[in-house]
Assembly symmetry: C2
Homo-oligomer: 338 residues x 2
C-alpha cells in the first residue's frame, strides 16, 4: 500500500490514530495551509467521512484498524516507520464512559499500551504525542484556578481515570525506556466537524434547526448549563500539537487551553445573539452527569513558554464558524465535508 510513496523525498512521516475524528481533519488542514510537506498514514476503526486526497503538500493514506488488535498495529507501525505519532484515538465521551465503563476504559488504555509497546519493541525512533484531557483534574476549588500542570489529579469519571492512566503509563515508558513521549491535557476543544454529541456542537445544531424551523416554541435541550469550561478552538489545538512535536520537551505534560472560563449559559447567549434569536431552555436530567466538574480553567503558561504557542481564534469567532457550518449543513446537507 505504500508503493506509491516510496520514492517521495518527504522526511516527515506522521502516523495519526483516531484519523476519522474532527481533530485529525483540522491537523491536516493546518499542515496544508502552512505548506508543510508530510506523509500521513491515518488509522481508525471507522472510515473517515471526509476526503483526504485533495491536499497539495500532503500524501495521505488511510487504513481501517482496531487498535485493540495488537498484531495489526504492529504490522502498520513497522511498515510505515513514523517520525511522529499523533495519538488522537480515544473513546473521548465522558457520558459514554458512565454507560460503558469497561469498553471505554479498554478503548483508552489498552489501545495506548498496544501502540507504545509496538513502538518500543520495534525500536523505531519517533516522537509520540499522547493526548490527555482537562477532565483529569477533576473537581477543583476556585482558589486552584487557573490549573497548572503540577496540580493534583482527582479524576471524577471512568473516562477521566483512563486518561490519567494513559499519562502515568507514558511516564513509565519515558522514565524506563527513554521513549520520546509528550503529553497534553487538552481542554474542551470546539470547531466544525465535531460530532454533535459534544455540547457546543449539540447547541449549535439545535439552535440552527430551531431557527430554520421558524417554530413558535423555541426550546433548547441541555444538561447543566451553569458549568464553566475553558473552550479552545480546534484550530488552535492542532497548532499546539504541531508545535509540541517540534519544540515540546520529552516527558513533559502541557495544558492546551485558553486560560479563560465560559459558562454554557454564556455560550448559549453568545450563540443566540449571533443568530439573532431567542430561546428558552429545558434541562434534560438524563444529560446531567453524576458528579460533574463545576468549573475547569487551565493555565497555558507552560506551553506558551516552551513552544511560543499563542491563541489565534477568539471564542466568538469559533462559535460563529460553527454556526455557519451548521447553517450550511441544514441548507445543504450534502456539502458537509469540503
Amino acid at each position: 500500500m505504500f508503493a506509491e510513496l516510496k520514492n517521495m523525498s518527504v522526511t516527515e512521516k506522521y502516523l495519526i490514530t483516531g484519523f476519522s475524528g474532527f481533530v485529525s481533519q483540522h491537523f491536516l488542514n493546518y499542515l496544508e495551509t502552512n505548506c508543510i510537506s508530510a506523509q500521513i498514514l491515518g488509522i481508525d476503526i471507522n472510515t473517515p467521512d471526509f476526503s483526504f486526497r485533495q491536499f497539495q503538500h500532503l500524501k495521505c493514506d488511510f487504513q481501517k484498524v482496531d487498535l485493540l488488535n495488537k498484531i495489526q498495529v504492529e504490522e502498520i507501525v513497522c511498515a510505515f516507520k513514523p517520525n511522529y505519532v499523533l495519538h488522537l484515538a480515544s473513546y473521548s465521551s465522558v457520558a459514554f464512559s458512565w454507560k460503558n465503563p469497561v469498553e471505554s476504559f479498554a478503548n483508552n488504555t489498552t489501545i495506548f499500551l498496544n501502540l507504545i509497546e509496538t513502538i518500543r519493541l520495534s525500536g523505531i525512533k519517533c516522537r509520540i504525542l499522547s493526548i490527555g484531557s482537562s477532565e483529569e483534574y477533576g473537581n477543583v476549588s476556585s482558589d486552584d484556578l487557573p490549573l497548572k500542570e503540577d496540580h493534583n489529579l482527582k479524576p471524577l469519571s471512568p473516562y477521566a481515570v483512563a486518561r490519567v492512566s494513559q499519562e502515568m503509563l507514558s511516564k513509565v515508558y519515558v522514565d524506563s525506556y527513554g521513549m520520546d513521549i509528550i503529553l497534553t491535557r487538552s481542554f474542551n476543544h470546539i470547531g466544525t466537524h465535531q460530532k454533535d454529541i459534544f455540547v457546543i456542537s449539540s447547541f449549535a445544531k439545535q439552535l440552527v434547526e430551531l431557527k430554520k424551523l421558524n417554530s413558535t416554541v423555541k426550546e433548547l435541550t441541555t444538561g447543566d448549563t451553569s458549568i464553566i469550561r475553558d473552550f479552545v478552538d480546534v484550530r488552535d489545538v492542532v497548532y499546539a500539537y504541531y508545535l509540541l512535536f517540534k519544540k515540546g520537551k520529552k516527558g513533559e505534560i502541557y495544558n492546551v487551553c485558553t486560560g479563560k472560563g465560559t459558562s454554557l449559559n454564556e455560550i448559549i447567549q453568545m450563540m443566540t445573539s449571533l443568530l439573532d434569536m431567542d430561546v428558552a431552555h429545558h434541562i434534560n436530567q438524563q444529560l446531567v452527569r453524576p458528579n460533574d466538574n463545576k468549573i475547569i480553567i487551565g493555565s497555558n503558561q507552560k506551553i506558551r513558554q516552551d513552544t511560543g504557542w499563542e491563541i489565534s481564534f477568539s471564542l466568538e469567532r469559533s462559535l460563529k464558524d460553527i454556526l455557519v457550518y451548521y447553517e450550511e449543513q441544514v441548507l445543504n446537507p450534502k456539502s458537509l465535508n469540503p
Copy 2:
C-alpha cells in the same frame, strides 16, 4: 450449585476473587481459627491446589471463572449475593507487567471494572475490599518515610499504574454511586504457600535446596538485594482485611504494613542464620528491574487507629515459618498443602 447452602443460617457471605492464591488460603484460615461462621464462594481462573472443604466453621465453594468474562461474573455475583467481596484477583507480578504490560493491565483494571459494574448494576448491597499495592507510591525520598496514605503517587511500572487506576476507579464509584468500597495499599506480604516467583519465597526455596544438596558451591541467585521493603506477614495481612470489612471507613485507603523497612541483604542474612549456613550470592541482571523503587516503608497509623489492627508476627517468625514450610516441601513434596 448453592443448593446445599440454601438452608444454612450463616449470615456472612464472602465472595473471594483470586481464590486460588496464597492470601485467600490464609484468609480462610483466619476465619476458621477465629471460629467465624461464613459462607464462602471462591472464584479464580486457576483451580486451587489446596483443599477448602475441611473447615468446621466455613462452607466453602469454588467456581472457575475468568473475570474478563463479564457475563460469567454477572451470573455468579447475582446468584451468590455476597455481603462482602474480597477482591484479591490480580496479575500482581511487577516483572510480568514489564514483559506483558497489555495483559497485565487488563487483568488488573478490566477485571476490577467488570466486578464493580456488575455489583453496581445488580443493586446488591455489599462491602468491597479493593486490594492495592505499596508499588503505587513509586520512587520516594527518605524524607517521605514512612509513607502515609495522602502521599503523592508516582507509579514506576505498568503493574503499579494498573493499581493506581483501580484505586481511582474505586473512588469514582464511591463518590458517584455511593458504593461501599474500601481500599488498601498492601505492602510486600510474605508467608507460606506464596509462589516462588516472589522474592522471599524464591530465596527460601533456593536456600533450603542448597542446604539439602550439601553442595560445596552454595550460591544464591538474586536481583538487586540492596532494595528495602516493608515486609508484612500474610497472617497479619488477612487479619487487617477482616478488620477493614468490619471497621474500615467507606471510600478510605489504608496502608497495610509494619512501618519497618528491611533490605533483601538483611533478609538473606536472617535466613542463612536461621538455617545455620553460609552462601555467596550471584546477581542475575535479568532479575534487576528497570527503574525499581529503592526503598518503600509505610505508615500503619491510619489502619491501627480506625480498626485497632496490630502486628502479631515478627519478621524472624515469618521467615522461620517460611523456611520450615520449604523444608517440609523439600523433604516430602506431597505434603505441600495441608
